[in-house]
């Protein structure tokens, strides 16, 4: 039962998958999902499995533990694990493999455990069901010890908390405990960083790397992104439509891919530093001006009768977007970018400060004036499925905003058809319902809906993140073409730094409701001043060498709650450069000589802020 100690001679291979075929069988038709996959994994090795959505990588992960759900079926092949064919094992023998010798971590940490029950108890239960000899107290002891090893703060207290009381990153640590607590020889990690914020994902990778070294566990590390696996794996397999198309060292695949498919995968990865042409500076008149915007939510404090908490979602945000400019707004979950988006789109009003469009304060406009103004700034959302009415023909959908703004139906139809042509929707789609349209086509409808009003500014709230890379590239091209023709300004609200690097002229980085750095593209990516910006960049998975090594710049922990901000600089609790004065002074966004700005008392890069930041009132 116990893992072989270092004294045992390591067998040549821990896991060998031989010519595995898995088929989808439904309604008398079969379709191959895995088509003759073979791979070998040695003890203590990290093998990466890279493939796009639908390549069959998650099915392979389940097939290795003989848990392929119907209507999928293993048609042929063997999975040799520690010398036994897992696919031939009975239920009883499988119990000593699944969850015991082979651990599993999935892509959805928040949904991986029963949402109602304490995580500690659930892991104890799992451990005792795969190792029945263990007493409750022993199992508990081991879970707590493993919780401490993955650096979950106060394990004894968190043992009794339910999944909803954890953040995504912390919950992924819990799932690492769940996978490793039985001391498995192999852990299958299926896309584990995909839902996480970039700095949290980098922390998880760092944690797994250190654990596998100390525990001697082998990892099958599955991801759709080559840069992600390059952070941890030596060797990689590239899976395409159920076949292994290329196999080799990650560095070799990244540098010189042999197969056409792999070459395309590598070519699609946007460069961040190497050979990036600087974007020209945009000197238009300001379209949108935000001055000292503040938004605070009041929520009832849990467990009290009537006490209230203040959630400071947006704190004193100021910036301007010029005509024809692409403005980027980046930050991690909970940084306030969604609230700011709602303020910019005037779906919600700021509690303080001023938002002016084309020089006019939105708060001062009357209802009729505001409606006319509303045409000129449009919001595009992330979810292409939830944002379209399911029972309306496509052209009617695009006419809708025109009718709202008082166009006659013949006029609206003409403009809608023109817009459809402009965004690349075939005229045949005009009378059909949106069912069955791809995410990319749906986003084109959304773009057309905004476009018909001849807006000046489009607010793109993660508009491209639900799309695959090909669709994303096409839509980006469309955005830039429309900009050249109509002189639009864009605000890209995104967590995707590579996208922002490609298209945004200026970028604002948000942390806990405040813009901590606002700089042009080149400065922000090449010589950022704020330590948080550097931490974000260091956490980016890249194939090229990262300019900001993680050892130096990556942060620990997670952002504090916006209810309970640290005194002084809100970033100081995680800041590697924090000094005594950071606790006393809350730095405001202050410009440097080159026009860029950062909210930091001790910025990187030498030159001091042009004006001294005002002392905070000790909030």
């Amino acid at each position: 039962m116990a893992a072989p100690g270092p004294a045992d001679p390591p067998p040549a291979s821990l896991l060998a998958v031989e010519n595995l075929h898995v088929r989808l069988e439904r309604g008398g038709r079969t379709r191959p999902i895995l088509d003759g996959v073979s791979l070998a994994l040695a003890r203590r090795e990290v093998l990466a499995l890279v493939g796009e959505a639908g390549s069959g990588k998650s099915v392979l992960a389940r097939a290795i533990v003989n848990a392929v759900p119907p209507p999928l079926r293993v048609a042929a092949g063997r999975v040799l694990f520690e010398g036994k064919d897992v696919l031939a094992l009975g239920e009883r023998a499988l119990k000593s493999v699944r969850g015991n010798r082979i651990g599993f971590i999935g892509a959805n940490p928040m949904g991986s455990l029963d949402p109602r029950l304490a995580i500690g108890e659930q892991i104890v239960h799992k451990l005792r069901s795969v190792q029945p000899g263990l007493s409750r107290a022993e199992a508990r002891e081991r879970v707590l010890a493993m919780m401490a090893r993955v650096a979950l703060p106060s394990p004894a207290a968190r043992f009794h908390e339910a999944p909803f009381q954890f953040s995504g990153g912390m919950m992924q640590r819990v799932m690492i405990v769940d996978a490793l607590v039985s001391e498995p020889a192999l852990v299958i990690a299926d896309n584990i960083t995909q839902p996480l914020d970039v700095t949290v994902a980098a922390q998880i990778i760092r944690l797994i790397d250190s654990l596998r070294e100390s525990l001697g566990t082998a990892f099958l590390f599955i991801s759709s992104s080559l840069p992600v696996v390059a952070q941890i794996a030596e060797r990689a397999l590239v899976l395409q439509e159920g076949r292994v198309v290329e196999e080799g060292r990650v560095a070799a695949i990244a540098a010189a891919p042999r197969e056409a498919y792999t070459r395309m995968l590598v070519a699609r990865i946007p460069p961040i530093w190497k050979g990036v042409a600087p974007l020209p500076k945009v000197e238009g008149a300001p379209v949108l001006e935000v001055a000292n915007a503040v938004r605070t939510y009041v929520v009832r404090r849990r467990g009290t009768f009537n006490a209230k908490n203040q959630v400071k979602a947006v704190r004193d945000v100021s910036f301007a977007v010029r005509a024809g400019e692409n403005f980027g707004l980046v930050g991690e979950s909970g940084c306030g970018k969604s609230t700011l988006t709602r303020l910019l789109a005037w779906l919600e009003r700021p509690d303080g400060g001023r938002i002016a469009f084309l020089g006019r304060d939105l708060a001062a406009l009357g209802a009729a004036e505001f409606k006319a103004m509303r045409r000129t700034f449009q919001l595009l959302l992330q979810d292409p499925y939830g944002s379209l009415p399911a029972n309306m023909p496509v052209q009617r959908m695009i006419e809708e905003p025109l009718r709202i703004h008082g166009h006659g139906s013949a006029d609206a139809a003409r403009l809608a058809q023109a817009a459809m042509a402009e965004v690349g929707l075939e005229p045949e789609l005009a009378t059909s319902l949106p069912v069955g349209l791809s995410a990319g086509q749906r986003q084109r409808i959304n773009i057309a809906r905004a476009l018909v009003l001849k807006p000046r500014l489009l607010i793109l709230d993660e508009t491209l993140s639900a799309l695959d890379q090909v669709e994303q590239a096409e839509l980006l091209e469309l955005f830039l073409r429309l900009q050249a023709e109509h002189g639009f300004s864009y605000i890209f609200i995104s967590h995707d730094l590579a996208l922002v690097r490609r298209v945004c002229h200026r970028i604002a980085v948000m942390y806990l409701g405040r813009i901590v750095e606002l700089a042009d593209n080149a400065t922000l990516f090449e010589a950022p001043r704020h330590p948080y910006t550097r931490a974000l960049l260091s956490a980016m998975p890249t194939l090229e060498a990262n300019r900001f090594p993680r050892e130096e710049y990556l942060l620990d922990g997670e952002p504090p709650s916006p209810i309970d901000l640290p005194r002084g600089c809100a970033f100081r609790s995680r800041c590697p450069r924090a000094a005594a004065d950071c606790a006393a002074t809350d730095p405001r966004l202050a410009p440097f000589a080159d026009g860029n700005a950062a909210a930091c008392l001790h910025p990187h890069g030498g030159d001091a802020p042009a004006r001294t930041p005002e002392a905070a009132d000790g909030r």
Partner: protein, 326 residues
Amino acid sequence: MFVLSFLLRRLAQGVLIILLVIFIIFTLLRVVPGDPARLIVGGMAPDAVVAEKAQELGLDRPIPVQFAAYLRDLVTGDFGRSFVRPKSGASFGGSAFDDQTRQERASVLDLILDTLPMTLQLAGVAIAMALAVALPLGTLGGLHPGRWPDKLALVIGSVFVSTPNFWLGIILTLFLSVKLKLLPAIGYRGFSYTLLPAIVLAVELVPFILRTLTVSVAQVMREDFIRLAPVRGLSRARTVLVHALGNSAVPLVNLLGVQLGMLLGGVVIVEFIFDYPGLGLLTINAVLQRDFPLIQGIAVFIAVMFVLINILVDLIAMSIDPRLEY
């Protein structure tokens, strides 16, 4: 600490709801035609006696004053006295206005508290019967969507939901009671008299429980943590019993809470058919006899029960799923 603040908040809300119910019932009863003083003393009494009775009952005062007086009495636990029912039980016939038995009128609270255990017993047995059938079948249906248990649950649900309760009551009485002599049907002289009306009520409940349970079990079974359970090494039995049923329990508890509330107030038809001496029968008679204090009392009482049941259901749901604590 949390539970305390929760209770405080909910009880405060409950008091508001009950006040509103009292106000509506009180006003409606004063607006509809019919003179209660005349009802009490009987059709043959002279007008002077009616006026005297009205004055004695306070019916001659302005309605807001009557309302305030009624509220004050309620707070002290005095639900008033029935207009027409004597303490002895049976309601009056057409006897003369000076009949001595008219003097001893029954307390509304006593009337309600006498019949409440009967209705609670009926509701409890009915829910137990319904759960015994629907719990296993609904769970199986949810575990195998589209297969035979699911279809069986659907068929049973459709047949039961489209069976009128008065018809079923009569048919069951005919077969089980009259023909086969298995169960007694009319009145109440022991526990066995509860079974037949309980079966009729259970048949009404089963479709709702089946539907709720199959839908929620099927939904939970599609969740990631259930699909991940075999890979983590959990057994199928534990996955279903602890995780699937545990997560389906909250909608079920909510449903049962609403149904229990309905059963307390609304088993009017079934109690009437079987002449079962519960709250429903009391309500019907009170309405037929225009017995204002009794109708008011029952309405207030049911409102209080609804509020309490809802608080209890929320507490249970919160202990099943801590995410519901807010």
